[in-house]
C-alpha cells in the first residue's frame, strides 16, 4: 500500500503519463479511426489485423487508452491529496517565524529602529499592513513580538482547484459514456416520433431550407412541437446552433433529405407532328390524369427515381437520395388499356425511351419535380455534460488562482530594548515579485514614517 501510494504520489509518474498520453493521442490522429475493415485492409494490408487487435483503430475508446486515463486520474487524486494537507496547515495554522537570521536571508527585506515602545511601533506596522489588505497573526509579547501578515492565501490552492476540475471533467466523460442517449429522428412534415426512453413525442410541423443569394445554404429550420400525453406542450423552431431543450433532452438539427415517396412532377407533352402543341401536366406519382378527352387517353407516372442508374440485371434503381439524375416512368392509357410506357429524364430531355404497342405521336419531357423534405433531428440526453461545465469552471478558476492570485507573505520580528524598538521585516512572493517588492517598500516606509 505504501509503495503503491509512493508511486502514484510522484510527479514523475504524472510526467511519464502526460508524455505517453500525448504520443498515443498523436497516433490516433495519424491512423484514421473507426473505419471499415475493407478500408484498413486497403490502406495497411497485412498490418491491419495487428492494428485492429491492438485497438489502434478505435484508440480513444480502447482499453489501454482508457486505462492510461484512469491511471492519470488516480495519479492526480493521490498527488493532490498528499500535497493538500501541508498546504491546509500552512493556510490555517501557519508557522510564525521567530528567527531574525532567516528573515534577513530573504530577498525582500528591510529593518528600522524607532524611539518608541514596542506596542506603539507594532500598532503602526499593523495599521499599515491592514490597509494594504493583509491579514495578521502575532506571537509573543512584552519585548519580542513576531508577526505574520498574508494576503491572497487562496492562491496556493490554485493547482488543487485545477486538478479537481479535471477530475470532474473525467467523471463527466465517464457519466456521458455510460448514460448518454443519442438517436437520429428522421421526420417528414406532419410526422411525429417518440423520443427514446422519454414520455413525449416530437412532431415536425414544417421544414424549410433558406438560401443565400449565391445559392449556398443559409439555414435549415425545423418547426417542431413537443407532444406529451397527446397534447402539444411546446413549439419551437430548431436551427443549427439553436437546439430545443426539453426535460433533459436536446434536439439538434443534424441533417435533412428528400422524401421521394410521392413527389409531384411536371410533365410537358408534345406532338411530333405539331411543334406548336404543348400540354403541361402536373401530377403526383401514382395519379392518373386525362391527356386528351377526344380519344380518351390518359397518363400516369408509375415511378420516380431521384438518381437514376441501371443496376444488376438492368434493373432501374437510385444511386443516392439526391436528385442528381431524376427520372419518371410514364404510362399512357386509352380506355383502360396500356398503350405506351417508358422512362423520361429531366437532365436528358431528348432521350426517348417510350415503348408503345401502337406507334404514338406523343413525346414527354420531365420538366420539374417537387418532393417533400424530411428533417433529421438528433435527440440527445447527456447527463455528463453538466459535470463537464462544472469541471471547466473549476479548471479556469484554478488557473486564474494559480497564475494571477499569488499569495504574498510579510513576516516581521519586533524587539524592544531600552525604550527603542527595532523592526526586521522580510517578504515572500512566488509570483509577481516586482509588484510585491514595491508594495513591501510602501508598507514599510509608511510604518516607519508615522510618529
Amino acid at each position: 500500500m505504501k509503495a503503491f501510494l509512493k508511486v502514484f504520489a510522484s510527479i514523475r509518474l504524472a510526467i511519464i503519463l502526460l508524455i505517453i498520453l500525448a504520443i498515443a493521442s498523436v497516433l490516433g490522429t495519424l491512423i484514421p479511426q473507426q473505419r471499415s475493415l475493407e478500408e484498413y485492409t486497403a490502406r495497411y494490408g497485412q498490418l491491419s489485423g495487428l492494428l485492429i487487435r491492438l485497438q489502434l483503430t478505435r484508440l480513444y475508446h480502447s482499453i489501454w487508452y482508457l486505462t492510461l486515463l484512469g491511471l492519470f486520474a488516480l495519479n492526480i487524486i493521490i498527488c493532490t491529496l498528499t500535497r493538500l494537507s501541508p498546504k491546509l496547515r500552512k493556510a490555517l495554522r501557519p508557522h510564525i517565524q521567530t528567527e531574525v537570521k532567516s528573515l534577513l536571508a530573504l530577498k525582500v527585506k528591510d529593518r528600522y529602529k524607532k524611539n518608541a515602545p514596542l506596542p506603539e511601533v507594532k500598532a503602526e506596522l499593523e495599521k499599515s499592513l491592514a490597509s494594504s489588505g493583509y491579514r495578521l497573526r502575532t506571537e509573543g509579547r512584552d519585548f519580542k513580538v513576531c508577526l505574520l501578515a498574508r494576503k491572497k492565501i487562496l492562491g496556493i490552492f490554485g493547482s488543487d482547484v485545477v486538478h479537481l476540475g479535471l477530475l470532474i471533467i473525467l467523471a463527466g466523460g465517464i457519466v456521458s459514456g455510460l448514460t448518454s442517449v443519442r438517436k437520429d429522428l428522421a421526420l417528414k412534415e406532419g410526422e411525429s416520433l417518440p423520443v427514446p426512453r422519454a414520455s413525449f413525442e416530437i412532431r415536425l410541423d414544417k421544414f424549410t431550407t433558406e438560401y443565400y443569394p449565391d445559392g449556398s445554404i443559409k439555414a435549415w429550420k425545423s418547426a417542431v412541437t413537443v407532444i406529451e400525453n397527446a397534447a402539444p406542450v411546446l413549439a419551437k423552431t430548431i436551427v443549427v446552433n439553436k437546439p430545443l431543450t426539453y426535460r433533459g433532452y436536446s434536439f439538434y438539427q443534424t441533417s435533412y433529405g428528400w422524401n421521394w415517396d410521392h413527389p409531384a412532377v411536371e410533365i410537358w407533352s408534345k406532338k411530333k407532328s405539331d411543334p406548336a402543341f404543348v400540354k403541361k401536366l402536373k401530377l403526383k406519382v401514382g395519379e392518373k390524369i386525362a391527356l386528351d378527352d377526344k380519344d380518351q387517353t390518359s397518363i400516369s407516372v408509375a415511378r420516380f427515381i431521384p438518381d437514376f442508374v441501371l443496376g444488376e440485371g438492368n434493373e432501374p434503381q437510385t444511386r443516392s437520395l439526391q436528385p442528381n439524375n431524376p427520372a419518371a416512368f410514364v404510362e399512357g392509357f386509352q380506355g383502360g388499356e396500356k398503350i405506351f410506357s417508358g422512362w423520361i429524364f429531366a437532365n436528358f430531355p431528348d432521350m426517348d425511351r417510350i415503348h408503345a404497342a401502337k406507334p404514338t405521336d406523343l413525346s414527354f419531357e420531365l420538366k420539374s419535380f417537387e418532393a417533400g423534405q424530411y428533417s433529421v433531428l438528433e435527440a440527445a440526453r447527456d447527463p455528463g455534460a453538466n459535470l463537464i461545465w462544472i469541471g471547466c469552471i473549476l479548471t479556469m478558476l484554478g488557473l486564474g488562482l494559480a497564475f494571477y492570485w499569488p499569495p504574498w507573505e510579510i513576516k516581521a520580528v519586533l524587539e524592544e530594548s531600552q525604550g527603542k524598538t527595532e523592526v526586521i521585516a522580510g517578504g515572500i512572493a512566488t509570483k509577481s515579485r516586482d509588484s510585491f517588492r514595491s508594495e513591501f517598500e510602501k508598507i514599510v516606509t509608511s510604518a516607519r514614517r508615522t510618529k
Partner: protein
C-alpha cells in the same frame, strides 16, 4: 477605405517595422528599435481597422476562412508582442516576431487563399465563433512569443540574459495557457455541445489541441514542481508551440475531420 487597402497599408507598416528592427539587430543601437516598435503599433492600429471593416462588410466575425484567420493570427501575434515588449522591454525579439507576422500576412495574401467573404454556413452562425476562435488564437499568439523567447534562450550566451529569456518565456506561457484552455478547450466544448450535441468527439483538431495542452501542462509541472528551468523548459515550450501550430494549420491540410472550416 476598403479592407484590402487597409490590409496593404498594414502589411507595408509591418515590413517597415521589421526593417527597422533588423537594422537594430545588426547595428545593436537601441535607438533603432524605437521606430520598429512605433511602426508595429501603427500597423496594429490599421490592422484593427481592417478587421473591423471586414466584420462590418461581411456581417460576421473576421476568421471564417484561412485568409481571415491568418490575418487575425498575425494581428494577435503583434498584439501579444506589443504587450510583452511593453512589460519586459525585449525589443530584441522584434525582428523575429515581425518576420513571422510578415510570413503570416504574405501567406494570407497569396493567390491560393480565397479572399472574398463568403456567407456563413449554418454551423458557424453562433456568437461562440467569436469567443472560441479569438481567445484560442490570442493564446496561440502568446505561445508564439514564448517560442521565440525560448529560441533566444537557447541562442543566448550570457547567464543574466539567459535568465531573462527564461523568465519571459514562462510569463508568456502563463498568459497563453489559460487563454488557450479557455478558448480552445472550454469554449470549443461548449460550442460543440450547442451545435452538434456532443462536447467532445475525438476529432483530429480536438485531439491536437489536447496534445498541445498536454505539452504545456508538462512544461508547467516540470518547471514548477520539479524545478526544471532553462534549456529543458525552452525545448518543451518550443515543442508546445509547434504542436499549437500543427493544431491550427497542419490538421486542416493533412488530417480530415469535423473542423473543415478554416
Amino acid at each position: 477605405m476598403s479592407e484590402s487597402t487597409l490590409f496593404v497599408i498594414t502589411f507595408i507598416l509591418y515590413i517597415l517595422s521589421a526593417f527597422f528592427y533588423l537594422t537594430f539587430l545588426f547595428s545593436k543601437e537601441p535607438a533603432r528599435a524605437k521606430p520598429g516598435s512605433l511602426l508595429a503599433v501603427a500597423g496594429l492600429i490599421i490592422h484593427t481597422a481592417a478587421l473591423a471593416v471586414r466584420t462590418v462588410e461581411s456581417g460576421h466575425a473576421p476568421f471564417t476562412n484561412m485568409y481571415e484567420s491568418l490575418s487575425f493570427l498575425a494581428w494577435a501575434s503583434v498584439l501579444a508582442f506589443v504587450v510583452i515588449d511593453k512589460k519586459f522591454k525585449i525589443p530584441k525579439i522584434g525582428p523575429y516576431i515581425m518576420l513571422i507576422v510578415i510570413g503570416l500576412m504574405a501567406l494570407a495574401s497569396s493567390p491560393i487563399m480565397p479572399k472574398e467573404a463568403t456567407p456563413l454556413v449554418p454551423a458557424l452562425q453562433s456568437y461562440w465563433l467569436w469567443l472560441h476562435v479569438s481567445v484560442t488564437l490570442l493564446g496561440e499568439a502568446f505561445f508564439a512569443v514564448a517560442f521565440i523567447t525560448s529560441i533566444m534562450y537557447l541562442a543566448a550566451k550570457e547567464i543574466d540574459k539567459k535568465e531573462k529569456w527564461d523568465s519571459v518565456s514562462y510569463r508568456c506561457v502563463a498568459v497563453g495557457f489559460p487563454l488557450f484552455t479557455l478558448g480552445g478547450l472550454v469554449f470549443g466544448m461548449v460550442w460543440a455541445y450547442k451545435a452538434w450535441g456532443t462536447y467532445w468527439s475525438w476529432d483530429p483538431k480536438e485531439v491536437w489541441s489536447l496534445i498541445t495542452w498536454f505539452v504545456f501542462a508538462l512544461y508547467l509541472h516540470t518547471r514548477i514542481v520539479m524545478g526544471w528551468k532553462g534549456k529543458r523548459s525552452a525545448v518543451i515550450a518550443i515543442i508546445g508551440f509547434l504542436a499549437a501550430l500543427f493544431t491550427y494549420f497542419g490538421v486542416n491540410y493533412l488530417l480530415a475531420g469535423l473542423h473543415s472550416y478554416a
